[in-house]
Subunit: 396 residues, 2 copies
């Protein structure tokens, strides 16, 4: 039970999982666990994997995962055309996207044991009378509680009526497949709760809702999302995965240890402690990157990717270059920010230009991009600094 | 044109009727005019007739009246069961109600020239994808402008989602029949405007909306409505029509002259003037009552009904009764309200009891109920007063 709840951010109701497990044991069956999938964006990334890995835990215990492909909604899209992410897709494209998605699912789930259903099966031919029945179960005020609707209503930003029906249709999917659990990111809490309510209205024992935390993307701020171009894709090549992982800001390391690796609890704790005790974040990121690659490719691919990264970015990049040798001793009396040091070294550039260069990733210290102009540089041993495209300094 | 606009309370847009007439002349066709009918309450009354008589004017000019029977909506009703007036009806009952309704329509319209359609024809099999298309044309904020929705939303009284769809479906009817005008009471303004908007969204020249005033019922306060039991039905028997018309409060006389009679403008003005110059309101009500009966029955039936009324309520009611003869002179020095006079006559009852008796219609002056305790009684000639069931006084 502890493992099943690990990393889960919301369980609704709180004791729901225990109750459901008791219920299905009594009924001598397994849990039916729903995952909704929007076939407009079939490329899965580590953010999706947070949910998928939780599903995998249930699958390994023999429970039934049902993936509901939102084929109906994808084919309709947003008829007003205002919402670009909701443009209608042809049946053919939806099918292709679903196939891509299922192939990617296999990176985490056992597809042979996963049930895949399309919601157009029951929505395409739903008569208006049944739709009216369905809509009668939900009030306007309830829908207006959803954050985005609430915000838009209060700001007088138009909400078209069909938009309000989408969460209801998603909830109806739960009625049709009679699931025990709906799983999603925390951003799906409202929609999943709608499923509970509708199942209850249709005389089905309401599903419990399990929400996993939202993984932030490479930028360290926004949620990982294809449209923000800040993802590590499940089908990214090993070298790409490695490089991207190395590029996350240090502030994300703990989150990535928890949500993207498959280390044991003890291993995770140990890694976090090592970071607290001053191990170079870059080294911890390397460990995370290798672990991610071993999950989606293999251990040997992970090793190769590390080697490639080191060669490419840490050494090769600096080899065959003529470094200006600088005596480190002259700086040792003061402490230096990266910006301060670069200004000393490259006095032909203004402080402003150098700051911009750093922020744009144009300055490497020992082969690694440092983006914070105020990062303190420890002056010891040999330090190689690249400023812009052509200036290489070695302090020692 | 003046006649077509007579009594009309709202035309939207203001110059719409002129424009539409020009348009259909150019296209060498007649206007298509829609009247929606809710087959849950098939009994037509004088309130409905206000609209029907306007339609009749257009029909007499050769235009096409299309009655849309809301058979779909009636069969669905209110699935929540909260709204008693919206309980679902069987297909059989809807059919019967529609037949009753059409029979009653013939009291005003020429049925052979009226087109009757059922909206279940297009709504029963409307696929969800088309419904989503339809809903996308309307925003939540627009629907919340409708008075009743607005009020309920602000008071946190639940509004179920299907209720919001009903005005949209009514609007879709206008799309399907491609009408030029939708006619209704002023309470239908919002719903009719929805039709305009949807026709425009579906590439049809938007209908104009013509709203007739709402006739008040016998109570003089609420709109005439079967559920309030304050109606004069188009199929009421002549005697019933006469009695009911006589019972309207004097404050409604002008409204009834305008909206329920078929007098010419000049005749109407003359009647109103006669009232201003002190003619007994009872006599004016008799004229209105006879006119109404001549419209829905015949002139001879109207005469008979008047005779019956006079016999029954003004004379016979008081005949065969032993009146206590009271000398009128003793009261002539002061002016008396009905209440004051009754208290004098029937000193064994408390003032409070007598007031209640009057308010409940238990006091008749010259055969007519007087409901206002403070109504001044002119003491001249012979006055017959009945107080309660058994006390009869004749003052002279």
């Amino acid at each position: 039970m502890k493992e099943l709840k690990e990393n889960v951010e919301i369980i609704l109701p709180l004791n729901g999982l225990e109750e459901k497990l008791k219920q299905v044991q009594k009924e001598k069956r397994k849990l039916v666990i729903k995952l909704g999938f929007d076939p407009t964006a079939p490329d899965l990334h580590l953010g999706h994997a947070v949910v998928l890995k939780k599903l995998k835990q249930f699958q390994d215990l023999g429970h039934q995962i049902v993936v509901v492909v939102g084929s109906f909604t994808a084919r309709i899209g947003d008829p007003t055309g205002k919402n670009k992410s909701r443009k209608p897709l042809s049946a053919e494209v939806v099918k292709q996207n679903a196939e891509t998605y299922i192939a990617q699912l296999s990176k985490v789930l056992k597809i042979s044991q996963t049930k895949i259903v399309f919601n157009s099966e029951w929505l395409d031919n739903l008569p208006l009378s049944d739709i009216i029945q369905l809509l009668s179960r939900v009030t306007v005020a309830q829908l207006m509680q959803r954050n985005d609707f609430n915000k838009r209503f209060n700001e007088n930003t138009p909400i078209a009526m069909h938009e309000l029906t989408y969460p209801i249709l998603q909830g109806y999917d739960s009625v049709m497949i009679e699931c025990d659990i709906e799983m999603g990111g925390t951003d799906q809490l409202f929609n999943c709760t709608m499923g509970r309510q509708l199942q209850d209205a249709y005389g089905i024992s309401p599903q419990i809702v399990m929400c996993m935390p939202i993984l932030r993307g490479l930028d360290g701020k926004e949620k990982m999302s294809k449209s923000l171009n800040n993802t590590i894709g499940l089908t990214d090549k090993p070298n790409e995965m490695f490089g991207k992982t190395m590029s996350i800001p240090d502030s994300l390391i703990t989150e990535y240890i928890d949500l993207t690796t498959d280390f044991t609890d003890t291993e995770k704790e140990k890694l976090k402690e090592s970071m607290d005790s001053g191990v170079n974040p870059m080294n911890i990121k390397k460990i995370i990157a290798k672990n991610i690659i071993s999950q989606y490719h293999s251990v040997s691919e992970a090793e190769k990717a590390e080697q490639f990264f080191v060669n490419q970015f840490q050494q090769q990049n600096f080899e065959n270059k003529s470094f200006v040798l600088v005596d480190i001793k002259q700086f040792m009396n003061s402490s230096f920010s990266l910006l301060g040091l670069c200004c000393k070294l490259k006095s032909d550039l203004s402080r402003t230009s150098i700051r911009r260069l750093i922020l744009q990733g144009g300055v490497l210290v020992n082969g690694e991009k440092v983006l914070n102009p105020l990062e303190e540089i420890i002056l010891e041993g040999s330090i190689k600094i690249k400023i812009g495209k052509r200036s290489f300094y070695e302090l020692k």
